[in-house]
Symmetry: C2
Subunit: 148 residues, 2 copies
């Protein structure tokens, strides 16, 4: 069984991965963003497709997303919760995603994010990521105005 | 460190929780469904709200969902992937959710599901659940017609 100390260390390591991912995403640095993912990542992103399987497919999708949004993107996390053991972990949080489009209009909405991690050869990597906005079952529209 | 055997056992235990949850959800058995969740569950459901915190809030939401849908609900899982250690685990899958509304119209769409588990006092419980459909960034509408 793992010790309380190893659990705390794993949680701190995963927190570092999250902070590093956030820094890369805010900088729109594609290479830095992708360095956090395992080759066999399965991603459920908020837009366009049910899933992106493998780091190549997910890199193309991230590239498209960075092209769609102009100016700096802001990812502000809230209510981050990490559950970690020695070599696997998962986390969830709310993430306020903000950006400015080509016409200078600012967009901002709260998304939900769940992430799965695995430690391989001493490195924590994201093996699963799930971003989403809830929808209104009456209109079928995504709800972008919800606040925590 | 955990052994390969304990990992396999944990994965099998989590698979049993998933199968039992699926049986309860298909039977629309609210008590049976809720028995799978930890008291401190944080749920990101596909509809209406950013999150439901605690089993009481999530029970009310499940009750509303079961009232909205008439007739049997069907949850058909595909591409289930489980990552488990001795006392924590996470899984993801695609889930075809089907049901019939009050006018007899059948609805069916593929959702993405990510689930986090914790073993406490020998019992595996769901501590986090994330259901969603992706949306189209142009129209802001949820995409119900996507297929794996």
């Amino acid at each position: 069984m793992q010790t309380a100390i190893s659990k705390t260390t794993a949680e701190a390591d995963v927190r570092k991965v999250i902070e590093s991912w956030q820094k890369a995403a805010t900088a729109s640095d594609l290479n830095a963003i992708m360095s956090h993912y395992a080759p066999d990542i399965v991603a459920f992103d908020a837009v366009l497709a049910l899933q992106f399987k493998g780091v190549d497919a997910y890199t193309k999708h991230w590239q498209n997303c960075l092209t769609m949004c102009c100016g700096p993107m802001i990812f502000k996390m809230q209510e981050l919760n990490i559950t970690a053991s020695d070599d696997i972990a998962f986390s969830h949080c709310l993430n306020q995603c903000s950006g400015t489009d080509k016409d200078g209009n600012e967009h901002s909405s709260w998304m939900r994010v769940t992430t799965g991690y695995r430690k391989t050869n001493g490195q924590w990597r994201i093996v699963h990521e799930h971003f989403s906005a809830p929808f209104d079952p009456e209109s079928g529209k995504a709800l972008f105005d919800l606040k925590p």
